[in-house]
Symmetry: C2
Subunit: 282 residues, 2 copies
């Protein structure tokens, strides 16, 4: 029986497109299962209803996907098994002509990513935020062309629902990618290779001056390259933070482990969320 | 003629409640002007249509308000003149009884802040995200009690629209505050005292290992306390970031200036967004 991989649905979301691509690359295909929200998707993995899930963690224009970071930080059993870097292509799709568009539907993230385009071309249009780009396409497809409704969505979602492209590549910046993590429960499945990154989460005592500097020193002085730092509220009080550190994996495993152990000593708590390969899609 | 202060409206939002409070404390009252979105509010200040604006920058449960950070980072003329720390009290308000609630409206941020409460008490209710807590109250007020609609909003918004409290203080964590910045154009108005904080924004070359560590060293080695670090995408490519550093103001101004100058040398660009007092509301 094939493994299941959860992904934010419905069909035609950026997440589902990325999961379909990843699935093609795997030696053993998974069964893709669409789940209506990210929190539920991660919980389904944690509680064993799904084997793995592919969830977005960061977009190059809009930044961190907070629900993913917060859920990973609070889970005892999830680990990252693979990272996928996926190029995002947003299209404006409708049944009507561009000039007739009065109302534009999409997920809040693509709406932000296309802010400049929308201001320039559709300053008068009403912008409506919905749960996913695929849902936006469905809503627009259910109305007649005369409604003047349009969706910002993937080409795939528009085509699945019978919309036509009004404008392609409308995001403000062509360097638009989304990072995804494929996650599973700890101790399930084989090691994914090659090892390229390590994800560490810890809480540092923010009341101490220079606390973060002291922690980064443990990596920097050992030549461990940190490719990303992200802070999220610890949710205990204003001013208390959790930090996510993305580290480059190094063949000098002893040194890497030593730096993580040293950071753990300086932290209130620390979790290693996994060592994993990175797959970059052109 | 009194100065104008922009704030996210309509009346009854958390922002508007905070601005009304702040206005009471000022030696010279401002005229409050509600603006429908944060980006427009900051642009109105930048382009001189408003004298100042009070905008949320961070919530203790949900983290940074990205649109505020991104707009400040990209503006050439805005500066922070004051910080306000405001306690957030969310209420569930409706015309009907708690048991009859089927659909709950609010802004995405309070919805996140009340996630655990909603899952425990209203797992079956449909959650609908709207532009503000005040808008949520308006929508619920326009329907009969039999609709089963409810809003998560401020007590004030519910009362303005004739709703009753179903449950008070429903946020997941009692330590729920929002930080606001009052912003203005550089060089307008008097200095705000006492000086308590400095906000620095810079872009660091993320390709260099230890680059962030090298920057934090300039603060740590001079005893400058950094109370907050936040990263946002530089929007040029995945992996390029802008950093926001909140520094404690110190009487040793020379040392502070020296540390900022040293960081500027190590950055692609750096902006000082202002030195300002912090007002904490109990």
């Amino acid at each position: 029986m094939s493994e299941t991989m959860g992904v934010l649905g419905p069909k035609g979301t950026h997440s589902e497109a990325a999961a379909s691509y990843l699935n093609e690359q795997l030696p053993q295909r998974c069964e893709l299962v669409t789940v209506p929200d990210l929190f539920a998707c991660l919980q389904d993995v944690e509680e064993g209803r799904l084997d793995t899930a592919l969830v977005p963690v960061e977009n190059s224009l809009e930044g961190a996907i907070n629900i993913t970071l917060d859920t990973l930080a609070r889970s005892e059993s999830l680990e990252v098994m693979r990272e996928l870097i996926w190029p995002v292509h947003n299209q404006l799709m409708a049944k009507c002509d561009g000039a007739a568009i009065k109302r534009i539907f999409s997920h809040p993230q693509p709406i932000s990513q296309c802010r400049a385009y929308l201001q320039q071309h559709y300053p008068q249009a009403e912008i409506v935020k919905v749960a996913s780009t695929a849902r936006a396409a469905e809503l627009v497809a259910a109305e007649p062309a005369s409604s003047g409704w349009a969706a910002i969505c993937t080409k795939r979602a528009g085509e699945l629902t019978g919309l036509s492209t009004v404008a392609a590549e409308i995001q403000d910046n062509m360097a638009n990618c989304t990072r995804f993590f494929q996650v599973r429960r700890r101790g399930t499945g084989a090691e994914c290779l090659p090892k390229e990154k390590v994800l560490i989460i810890c809480q540092i005592d923010g009341q101490k001056a220079g606390a973060l500097y002291d922690v980064l020193k443990e990596f920097a002085q050992r030549g461990i390259n940190m490719t990303r730092i992200e802070s999220r509220p610890a949710r205990t009080e204003l001013g208390a933070y959790i930090f996510f550190f993305d580290l480059e994996y190094t063949a000098a495993v002893d040194v890497l482990q030593e730096s993580i152990a040293a950071v753990a000593k300086k932290s209130i708590w620390l979790k290693n969320l996994g060592t994993f390969p990175v797959l970059i899609v052109e």
